[in-house]
């Protein structure tokens, strides 16, 4: 009775090892070639474009909201009215226990809280383009601040 179990254990372990070796890190994701300055420039441009889109949303621009299909405020408010230069958004303190929502929260949770409660707008999808852009603008504006997750 013992032998078959031993064999099956060995077989199972071998198969597992084989799977790990075969599936390994996906080669398509590995970066083989060195970056060119043009590539780096392109990466930066892609990022800064999102900073600007986020800035427009953060400052209540109607056309950008319409294009992205979001309504960040129904009362004429904008995020920047309470957060000039994205100050007091404290992105470097997330994730943390957030008093207002009474739960452990990410920056995205807090962005949505502000949209719904402070600006009286309509909650946006967590992985939407608008959310990513807002997050980008907030992080970029606070770059250089020391990471301090969990701080109230």
């Amino acid at each position: 009775m013992k032998r078959p179990r031993k064999i099956s254990t060995i077989l199972g372990a071998s198969l597992g090892l084989l799977l790990v070796v075969v599936s390994g890190p996906n080669p398509a994701l590995a970066h083989k070639a060195k970056h060119t300055p043009e590539q780096l420039k392109a990466f930066e441009q892609a990022f800064l474009e999102q900073v600007k889109v986020g800035d427009m949303l953060f400052h209540g621009d109607g056309a950008t909201q319409k294009r992205l299909g979001v309504t960040l405020s129904n009362t004429g408010m904008a995020c920047a009215m309470c957060h000039p230069f994205a100050s007091d958004t404290h992105p470097y303190t997330f994730p943390k226990f957030q008093e207002q929502v009474s739960k452990f929260a990410t920056l995205r949770d807090m962005i949505n809280w502000c949209i719904e409660k402070a600006a009286e707008g309509e909650k946006i999808e967590d992985d939407s383009d608008a959310m990513k852009a807002l997050e980008t603008y907030i992080y970029w504006s606070n770059r250089g601040s020391k990471l301090d997750p969990g701080r109230h």
């Binding site: 800064l48 900073v51 600007k52 800035d55 427009m56 400052h59 209540g60 621009d61 109607g62 056309a63 950008t64 009362t75 004429g76 408010m77 904008a78 920047a80 009215m81 309470c82 957060h83 000039p84 230069f85 994205a86 100050s87 007091d88 404290h90 470097y92 943390k96 226990f97 207002q100 009474s102 739960k103 452990f104 502000c114 409660k117 402070a118 970029w140 504006s141 606070n142 770059r143 250089g144 601040s145 020391k146 301090d148 969990g150 701080r151 109230h152």
Partner: protein, 410 residues
Amino acid sequence: MDDYGRDRDRLRLLRSKARLKWWRKIGASKETESQRREMDRVLRQPGEHPDRTMELTRRMFIHKSLLAGAAAGVASAGWFPWLNTIDLAFGAEAFKFVWVSDSHLYPKTLNTRFIDKLTRAIKEVQAMSPPADFLIYGGDLAQLGDPVELDLGAEILKEVTIKKVFIPGEHDWYLDMGVKWEKLFGKSSWTFDHKGVRFIGLDTVSRGPDYWTAKKMTPQERMGHMATLDGSVAGAWAGVGRDQLAWLSTTLSNWPKNKPVVIFSHNPLYEYYPPWNFWVRDWREVHEVLTPFTNVTNIHGHTHQVLYNEIGKVRSIGMLATSWTWPYAPEGVPTLTKCKVRVDPGDPFDGVGWSKLAVNAAEKIENDYVMWRKDILGDAPWDSGCADNANQILSPRLADREWPYYGAYK
């Protein structure tokens, strides 16, 4: 214990460790202080000091919650400038006056939140017994200068039956360049004497450089850029201007140098944070005019926060908004300021309010911030609106430096 309970406990422990670090950090941050000192050195000649009759006292006021923290506070601050018990002048007659400002009203159809708050302030002013001698409305009655907003504000302010005087804010002015505002409230700068005090209302908003003509902006676009606090398109719009400086000089020429002068302005008359126009660009010239006077108090709006400063012989007190509170700027907060409490964004009535100012029988001005929450000031660093930002490094915007840029509030 549920997950959230465990998170809370863990975070409580981490926070208590962080607080210790925080105290040390705040003690070490002296850059801003050295800048303020330098400015003060330039303006205050050797041996000069604000008039001794303006000595700050330690008088406490209505908010008893502060008393608990007083013992700790007195050890570090030594005195309580935020309470602003200031001797004005010997011989002044006892009286009260009231400051209300920065209501940023929208049309009723769009947003009633700010209307509710101004209405509450006005009801409280009207209920004062004995009544105040006058009310100064310190600007930004409207959000986008819309005649509907200004009319609405004028209507709400009618509820107050005492004397009212007005100075404009930038939000009132730049849709029609002050036409509607002046029609409703008269001249944008003025002076009057009251019971031994010379009061002056300054217009610090209407002399902004023309940023709109060359770019062919509509009045709405011009207003939108003016209304964006952290926008760079409108530039350094806050200023007193040469003509008004000359007028100020003439106005003060027949006033004794040691008698009290109170100057109302929308913007602070010193350099706090130019990118948000938390200043007037010609503040040095203003102080030149004021230099001979030993008893000057500037009371200002625009900054929506508890502020106190001394430059040379001039004291400045920042007033609360009725609408919403601004965060403290990333630099330049006067070291004499005891910062307001970290505000709860979920409570529209937190961090906002108005001010009662009294000249009492002992010739002192007492400024009582009437904030619609028990706590006004944050004593502990984790509750302070300034210390909370000790770890924050901010960058100015990019989007508003590219033209055409139409990302202003609409």
